[in-house]
Amino acid sequence: MTATTLTLGIPSKGRLMEATAALFAKAGHGLERVGNDRGYRGRLSGLDGIEVAFLSASEIAGQLREGKIALGVTGEDLLRENIPPTDDCADVALRLGFGPANVVVAVPECWLDVAAMADLEEVAEQFYRSHGRRIRVATKYVHLTRRWFAAHGVTGYRIVDSSGATEGAPAAGLAELIVDITTTGSTLKANHLRILEDGVILESCAVLAARREVLSEARVQVLIRALSKAL
């Protein structure tokens, strides 16, 4: 009998949930929904001491950071957005490979003079001089954007929070450029946006993330080994 049960957060629906369920089944630890709270709680077959919580995909990284769950399957983009690199409370235990997508910086295609991040700071300065306001970056990745722009010496911008249809923000006049997630780039293309040459912030995929303090526990190691064999 293990001391405390660890909670593993799994997306409650969608393709990420389906791919996760398939991988866990293949690894020999299928997801089983149980309990009074039917539908939102579960266990892993053949592995004691880990209970499953079916959560909204957007909550998992935040709950990991707060220590409400010890393990979670989520997109690396959401993990990195919610847990800064300076905070070592939780990290990627295993990259699961599915759900690949890149978080990118994209500018209007008609900006013929902009190839890379280094151009952006000059554009920001020029834009401020001629329009009296900062260029705006629409994104839901506020922290990833700040860190990436700071690392590239780009400071003269404002972030506009955008939780849906970010790629439409420049055409709608709500922002000058965007930071967003893309799989094939076709949505960006359709909105006449182009990814900067050094504008890939993160090559994301689904990951199993773990709180640092549980990473070395035997049951967690069993799960990681089983999943990595099944990949």
Binding site: C110, W111, L112, E122, V123, T155, E176
Partner: protein
């Protein structure tokens, strides 16, 4: 700690009364700028790092407002709305709460700032020395001793760059990137080998500008590629940068000895009186000679105020994080339990009032004291 006890409140109030008495006795008008400010004024003028730390909210009409993250801009706005002639000399002091999201453990989200702002000063070095003297006197009135004063001078850097032979757009870029040492170094490197810039996805667009009217050529290219025009960036702005890139390709490289002079300057640090000799070794030019005279006159003005600038530290690099300053920058630290703690800072910011809507440039110099830090050091 959700608030202060009556004893803590009284102790801070007593300390701050001593600080404000110094400013008021010196003839500074004690004003109370608004706490709630239009958000844009702050957000458009500071980098995303400050924006990230500003409390922003909306009023019922949808206007973006913020809690002031600092009192300098609110004092400027007070001046612009109250002064009959915004260029006429005005001297203000204030004591008020500023609000910022904490950026590190233990940094408070609300704190009391005491400060002075001197607008339209007619004796520049005299005003600068006076502001430094009053800041030091106020800190001493609060009970602090053994203050460590660090100074920088953006006037020297600007004069150095202005005195060098290079295209104006390079000067503008170097001054702009002064705040970001790594980007500054990369830029300097690029200017020493302008033709060696590697080709990128947009190099062909730069090629297309050759021998043509840039705006027409860029417009033609955009319609030829069938690209819709989105955002407020005009074709003229896009064309201007393309033709700058074209011009850069054939520009004479920045001479190696000039790069050395810039690097030599940026490495200068030491006692304010000692670095005069280091500055004297930089090549002569009207702009730089003027800035050096200004620097030396400021030393005399500091002595006239009864200060000992020999004990002040100068660093050419200092001020690289404080974006709106245009000349003198200074900060004052005190040795605290583990590490030195910055308790005050200030400098000259001659562009801010113009930027906020004044009809012309109005000289300005000021300082701000972080009063809770002073209290913490004294505790």
């Amino acid at each position: 700690m959700a608030g202060r006890s009556s004893a803590e409140r009284e102790a801070l109030a007593r300390q701050n009364a001593a600080i404000m008495a110094v400013f008021e006795r010196a003839g500074f008008d004690h004003i109370a700028p608004d706490i709630i400010q239009p958000a844009d004024i702050f957000l458009e003028r500071s980098g995303e790092d400050i924006r990230a730390r500003t409390f922003v909210f909306s009023d019922p009409d949808g206007n973006e407002l913020c809690l002031r993250p600092d009192l300098t801009v609110p004092a400027c706005r007070y001046h612009l709305s109250h002064a009959g002639d915004v260029s006429a000399e005005a001297r203000y002091c204030y004591l008020g709460t500023a609000f910022r999201f904490p950026d590190e453990l233990l940094s408070p989200q609300e704190f009391n700032q005491a400060g002075i702002e001197w607008f339209g000063d007619s004796d520049p070095v005299g005003a600068e020395a006076r502001v430094m003297k009053l800041t030091i006197a106020a800190l001493e009135a609060a009970g602090l001793a053994r203050l460590k004063v660090t100074m920088g001078d953006l006037g020297l850097f600007n004069a150095l760059i202005n005195s060098m032979d290079m295209p104006d757009r390079w000067r503008r870029r170097l001054k702009h990137q002064f705040w970001r040492p790594a980007a500054f170094r990369a830029l300097l490197e690029r200017f020493t080998r302008p033709s060696a810039v590697k080709r990128t996805a947009i190099s062909a667009h730069v090629d297309a500008m050759a021998g043509k009217d840039p705006e027409q050529a860029a417009g033609a290219l955009i319609s030829e590629l069938g690209l819709p025009h989105v955002t407020d960036r005009s074709v003229a702005e896009i064309a201007a940068r393309l033709s700058e890139k074209l011009a850069d390709r054939s520009e004479a490289p920045l001479a190696a000895d000039m790069v050395r002079v810039i690097e030599t300057y940026l490495a200068i640090e030491g006692s304010v009186t000692d670095v005069v000799a280091d500055l004297a070794r930089l090549p002569s030019s009207p702009a730089l000679d003027g800035a050096r005279r200004w620097f030396e006159a400021r030393i005399e003005a500091l002595e006239d105020q009864g200060l000992n600038p020999r004990r002040f530290h100068f660093s050419a690099n200092f001020g690289r994080e404080l974006e709106y300053y245009t000349g003198l920058v200074f900060q004052i630290e005190v040795e605290a339990r583990n590490a030195p703690l910055v308790v005050a800072g200030g400098g000259r910011y001659n562009d801010l009032l113009l930027d906020l809507g004044a009809p012309r440039r109005v000289p300005a110099v000021g300082c701000a004291i972080h009063t809770e830090r002073v209290k913490a050091v004294l505790a």
